[in-house]
């Protein structure tokens, strides 16, 4: 009886991980179908009008596009099972290689942004919720609205201007100094630049890359923090009205602890879920941030291949994004289960 709660957490995590498999399968199917429903195909998009019908048919056959949709679907799934996401049409670069070379930069960008957003959003939201309708609350709410409503590139440019005023030598573009980038081939252990320089023990390169991270992460983080501030605030207010909060006060638990242990922890449950959903927003935000800061991330690659109408590349990169979202949802659910003992299968 008593062990039913503690014993089921590992079980919950195991079941949740197993569920990833059907989830990914559905996801792959949707991505596959979406791109087949779209008019045109990669061959005509790549070859354009310059090729005659026979050559086009030949190329389609070579790419396997003349087969039935179902056969294409099966071979696509088969390839994916072998971690083969196809190659770009023009350059024949494997999609996985693109994801590997550019995904790392996007990953560190989004993680950094999330970290900043949480560091700003959680304490501010809690303060605003606890001191509701005071000038402090009004100020924080204003920040929440403005930071969420402000266009990302505008905030980015403002930050660049500001940083330029304060410290003209601070990097505002790219992920690393060009000289360090020139030797980037030596940093290929994880293909995550920040990690590789750290593992290589190259402190100068590491701090340089870290410095380059600040502005893009801050820009994206501020956008995200607005959502989190408002979300935490409203949930803390809601939780403070909770029956268990009044009961805790009736037991004489000091107000600080009531807010921290009772209201805030319970407020986090819905917040965690929504933060997970924000990952999708962050991904699209990353595309914008990357183009603002010349960030060599996967978002810029996606833009490039959409422009070139390279369906295979787009399909592969979108799959990568989707997989990240699925994995985040697993992480979110596990965190939720750790926080809330009622979340069990």
């Amino acid at each position: 009886m008593a062990s039913s709660s503690s014993g089921s957490l590992p079980r919950y995590i195991a079941v949740r991980l197993l569920l990833v498999i059907p989830l990914i399968w559905v996801l792959l199917s949707v991505v596959f179908l979406l791109l087949r429903v779209a008019p045109g195909d990669p061959v005509s998009a790549a070859g354009g009008d310059r090729l005659d019908a026979d050559t086009l048919a030949q190329r389609r056959e070579a790419a396997g596009l003349d087969r039935s949709l179902f056969a294409q679907y099966l071979s696509y799934l088969g390839d994916v099972a072998k971690f083969d996401f196809g190659s770009t049409f023009r350059t024949q670069t494997p999609v996985l290689e693109i994801v590997r070379d550019f995904g790392g930069a996007t990953l560190t960008l989004t993680l950094g942004a999330f970290l900043i957003a949480l560091l700003i959003g959680l304490p501010l939201g809690r303060l605003a919720g606890r001191f509701r309708d005071t000038p402090l609350d009004v100020g924080i709410r204003l920040y929440g609205v403005v930071s969420y409503a402000a266009p990302l590139f505008w905030v980015g440019i403002l930050l660049v201007v500001l940083v330029n005023k304060l410290d003209p030598t601070w990097p505002t573009n790219g992920i690393a100094d060009p000289f360090i980038l020139a030797t980037s081939d030596t940093y290929t252990k994880t293909h995550i630049f920040l990690l590789d320089t750290l593992i290589a023990g190259d402190t100068d390169a590491f701090t340089d890359v870290l410095k380059h991270h600040l502005l893009p992460c801050l820009t994206l983080g501020i956008l995200l923090s607005g959502v989190i501030v408002r979300l935490v605030r409203i949930n803390v207010i809601q939780a403070l009205k909770g029956d268990y909060v009044e009961a805790a006060r009736a037991r004489g638990i000091p107000e600080g602890r009531v807010v921290r242990k009772h209201a805030f922890r319970n407020a986090l449950v819905p917040v965690i879920t929504v933060i997970g959903l924000q990952v999708a927003l962050t991904m699209s935000g990353a595309v914008l941030t990357e183009s603002t800061f010349g960030w060599p991330g996967i978002g810029t690659q996606l833009l490039k291949y959409i422009g070139e109408r390279d369906y295979i590349a787009v399909q592969g990169i979108v799959t990568f994004f989707a997989v990240i979202v699925v994995l985040t949802s697993v992480v979110v659910d596990v965190v939720n289960a750790v926080v809330d003992p009622r979340v069990r299968y």
Partner: protein, 358 residues
């Protein structure tokens, strides 16, 4: 108060004074149309080990009074009058001192046990948090011993100590709440409709537990309830509240046998038993507490209302049987007041006039 209102109800403890004393206590809070006088001049006292039942319709200020005694007030609420705990005035205490008193000396048991425990905290954490807050320097072992003892008294097996609230039934959760309220042995406990959300068998069990508290811990209890049967069964005295005021207070037996206030009488007539053939109810609803009727607040609904009831506030009077009542009709019956012919005339009510038109 020098006057002893109890006749042999609780255990005789003449040496010790009252645990809690409210004298003209008021709890008002801000409403959309001016102050809501939820508790408006309430006077009573409780001796150690005594159980006072507080009855009345919903919206009469019972819960506000219960919470007000502990200082658990909604935003924008204020207390006035006098409220003494073992002789010390509680209204002048600083916030921190109020928090210290709460839990350790003043306990509260709530209506909805299902939502009163933090769903993210183990039962053991609830106990250790409460104990650590009030008794600094307790060792882990002492905390566990004290908690398990409180659980044992409530009939909850020690194997469930580490469980989460959602793993318990409603009745068990209410027993957990009681254990949590009593682990610090408070001298005074407010139980706000502790059995309303529970089934009948569990209700009987909880009432028995509360009733036995005075033997185990000498706890004084204010038992807020809708259920007059519970009052008859468990309480030494009963206070009847209407529109923010205590209209009648006295030994439970006496009040039930000889209700003096018209409201008490109507309330008792509304109870249902096996011999009930028709439902009795009191016309209308309790008044808006931000704008209560003049005179006796009950006069618009009172079957015995006289002209005087609508114009002059009734005065608290103590009767030989130990009851204190504020009712003109009662005064007239006991000859404690002389009223003129016009004051005694039955009150013409607006509702009746409206009914005639229709």
């Amino acid at each position: 108060m020098s006057f002893d209102l109890v006749e042999g109800g609780g255990p005789a403890r003449t040496a010790s004074g009252p645990v809690i004393e409210a004298d003209d206590l008021r709890v008002w809070y801000a409403g959309p149309t001016g102050p809501v006088k939820a508790v408006d001049g309430v006077t009573f006292s409780l001796r150690p080990g005594e159980i006072l039942g507080l009855v009345g319709e919903s919206g009469c200020g019972k819960s506000t009074l219960g919470r007000g005694l502990l200082g658990l007030l909604p935003d924008g609420a204020a207390r006035d009058g006098a409220l003494r705990f073992r002789g010390d005035d509680m209204l002048t205490l600083r916030r921190k001192e109020q928090y210290q008193l709460r839990g350790s000396q003043l306990g509260m048991i709530f209506q909805e046990p299902l939502t009163r425990l933090n769903p993210l905290m183990r039962i053991s954490d609830h106990f250790s948090e409460t104990l650590k807050t009030h008794e600094k320097g307790l060792s882990k072992r002492e905390i566990e011993e004290r908690s398990l003892e409180a659980l044992r008294v409530m009939g909850i097996p020690p194997t469930r100590f580490k469980a989460y609230p959602h793993e318990f039934s409603g009745g068990m959760r209410q027993r957990l709440m009681i254990a949590l309220a009593l682990v610090l042995r408070p001298a005074f406990v407010v139980a706000d409709e502790p059995t309303t959300a529970l089934d009948v068998l569990v209700e009987a069990q909880i009432i028995r537990i509360l009733h036995d508290l005075r033997e185990t811990y000498e706890t004084s209890l204010l038992l807020i309830t809708h259920n007059l049967g519970i009052v008859a069964e468990a309480c030494d005295r009963v206070a009847v509240m209407y529109a923010g005021k205590i209209v009648e207070i006295g030994p439970a037996r006496e009040v039930f046998a000889n209700p003096q206030h018209s409201y008490t009488r109507e309330l008792l007539r509304s109870t249902i038993s096996l011999s009930t053939t028709g439902l009795n109810f009191i016309d209308g609803a309790p008044p808006d507490l931000s704008d209560p009727p003049s005179g006796c607040h009950f006069h618009p609904r009172c079957p015995d209302a006289m002209a005087v009831c609508a114009t002059r506030d009734p005065v608290d009077r103590e009767l030989p049987a130990g009851t204190r009542v504020a009712c003109w009709a009662s005064d007239l019956r006991h000859g404690t007041v002389t009223l003129s012919e016009s004051e005694r005339a039955p009150l013409q009510k607006e509702e009746i006039a409206l009914a005639d038109e229709a």
